[in-house]
């Protein structure tokens, strides 16, 4: 019932919505970031953070701090908040919250499988996994040799199982396969999440479809650019077939958000004509830009980039995403705020990681390069 969520939303969602909005007011502000950017050492950063909500988590850390410790503790805080919300949530909000973690689960699976392929220690890999994407049998992922085993032995018990239907092959796992698997899984995940939000209806569907479509678009663009860069380096015919597979997954990712911009993704998928004269990656990025600039929401993003500044694309996308996430807080009585909050916190943790890395490595001139302030 569109427009009538206000009457019944609060039965199950009112308390948690208010809590998540309370958490949101704890996000670091522009002033906080300015202070953090002034820091000389990691201990300064810790001191500044102690005045924020991260304080209790960093309090008992012994003095020679590492960047990883800061990031780890900040993530612990996010996970604590998430678990608290999940334990309070009732259906369908609890399912919605679980959906948020599936993205991390996919990343973790890929991380473990890639790591095993390069013969890393499983324990070491497990420590690197995002705690939100952990599941019981994750350590056994290392035994799988191909996609089918991966599915049959481990993933059939996880929520990711339905997403595997499109990528079960008996081929041995290699880097390219894994990358394709990640993108296919992510595509299935986004579509499933999108369907779920549509089923919830009302303001949740409206806001989440925008956020998820943006996520899908961003991934589609990134895949296209990565493929273009890859193309320019390796042009052998063997590689060519693999690229086509990636293009395919790229089209798949973007398949569902065609409702907004029906032809854009096809054009995007087509910009692959490898002209022997232009074998430079940036040419392809300009190609992508040409396609994307036709679509109003992306004009601003690509307009900001001067030619050749492709590494800034990520930041531009993050900025746009943060803007959209913040806007979802403008409406009440919908689940989008939970998604938005989790994403904003993750962005904040990325910011803190960048700042502390810059401070730790004495690269303070670059500290503003990749910080996306949230409010």
């Amino acid at each position: 019932m569109y427009g009538f969520e206000a009457m019944t939303f609060n039965i199950h969602g009112g308390y948690l919505e208010a809590i998540v909005r309370g958490h949101r007011s704890g996000l670091l502000t522009v002033a906080d970031y300015n202070n953090l950017c002034q820091c000389e050492t990691l201990d300064d950063i810790k001191m500044h953070l102690s005045a924020t909500e991260y304080g209790p988590y960093l309090q008992n850390e012994p003095s020679p701090l590492h960047t990883t410790t800061i990031v780890e503790k900040c993530t612990v805080k996010l996970v604590d908040e998430y678990k608290h919300m999940l334990s309070q949530a009732t259906e369908p909000l609890s399912t919605f919250l679980e959906y948020i973690t599936y993205g991390h689960m996919i990343d973790n699976v890929v991380l473990i499988v890639t790591g095993t392929l390069h013969e890393r220690d499983v324990q070491e890999l497990l420590e690197k996994c995002h705690p939100l994407g952990m599941f019981d049998s994750i350590a056994t992922l290392a035994v799988a040799q191909n996609m089918r085993e991966l599915y049959r032995l481990v993933l059939v018990d996880t929520p990711l199982a339905p997403y595997f239907s499109e990528c079960i092959t008996s081929e041995d796992l290699d880097d390219m396969n894994i990358e394709i698997m990640r993108n296919t899984l992510y595509k299935a995940y986004l579509e499933d999440f999108y369907q779920f939000c549509q089923k919830l209806g009302g303001a949740t569907a409206e806001i989440m479809s925008d956020l998820l479509a943006f996520e899908a678009d961003r991934r589609a663009v990134n895949i296209t650019i990565n493929r273009c860069c890859h193309d320019s380096i390796l042009c052998s015919s063997l590689e060519q077939s693999l690229h086509e597979m990636i293009v395919e997954s790229c089209i798949l990712v973007s398949a569902y958000c065609k409702t907004n911009y029906p032809y854009g993704h096809e054009e995007l998928a087509v910009c692959e004509d490898i002209d022997q004269v232009h074998v430079l990656a940036c040419v392809y990025i300009i190609d992508v830009r040409g396609v994307m600039e036709k679509y109003p929401p992306y004009q601003a993003i690509f307009g900001k980039l001067s030619y050749g500044e492709s590494q800034m694309l990520d930041k531009a996308f993050y900025e746009e995403e943060v803007k959209r996430l913040c806007l979802s807080f403008e409406q009440q009585f919908h689940y989008g705020v939970f998604f938005a909050y989790m994403r904003l916190r993750e962005q904040e943790i990325r910011n803190l990681m960048w700042i502390s890395e810059c401070v730790a490595q004495n690269q303070k001139s670059r500290v503003h390069d990749s910080v996306v302030s949230i409010f």
Binding site: A6, A18, Q332
Partner: protein, 181 residues
């Protein structure tokens, strides 16, 4: 049955409606006035209350201020109680012979209509105040300068119920039963 009006053939709906006792109408009117008003108030209080509890975790200062929102919802129930009391004072006993005379019927319908007006006006008023109260709690937690501004909106929302009460009371003034002879 002297003076009773006769409408429709026996067995028609019109006759059936007419033969419902004015006391039944009055009683339903009074019940709706209080019952639906309290429903509206309770609905409003849970919408406000659940948001208020959640928001107060990170910003405890808002609790006492935002009790005003709850009180506004509560006022809606009080309107219902007041009108129900006024309406029930209008009930008078009439001799059985006068039960279906037009004046009796009019009194019964007047109390019924009055109860419906008050009940539903207060239901939507309670909802309106509750939703605004919930937004009020959330925005006050973020920015305390918004509280007074949203309170003004809430007062206007609360006035809606009052309109119902006024019209309901005027309406119930029509309820004059035939004098005992």
């Amino acid at each position: 049955m002297s003076g009773a009006i006769v409408i429709g053939a026996s067995g028609s709906w019109a006759r059936a409606m007419l033969k419902i006792s004015p006391y039944t109408f009055s009683a339903i009117g009074i019940a709706v006035a209080i019952g639906v008003s309290v429903l509206g108030a309770a609905w409003g209080i849970y919408i406000t209350g659940s948001s208020l509890i959640g928001a107060a975790i990170k910003a405890p200062r808002i609790t006492s201020k935002n009790l005003i929102s709850v009180i506004f919802c509560e006022a809606v129930a009080i309107y219902g109680v007041i009108v129900a009391i006024i309406l029930q004072t209008k009930l008078e006993s009439v001799p059985g012979s006068q039960m279906y005379v037009p004046e009796s019927l009019r009194a019964g319908y007047a109390i019924f209509a009055s109860g419906i007006i008050v009940g539903f006006a207060n239901l939507v008023c309670g909802l309106c105040v509750g939703i605004i109260g919930s937004s009020c709690a959330l925005s006050d937690a973020q920015n305390s300068s918004l509280f007074v501004k949203i309170l003004v909106i809430e007062i206007f929302g609360s006035a809606l119920g009052l309109f119902g009460v006024i019209v309901g009371i005027i309406m119930s003034a029509q309820a004059t039963w035939p004098s005992k002879v």
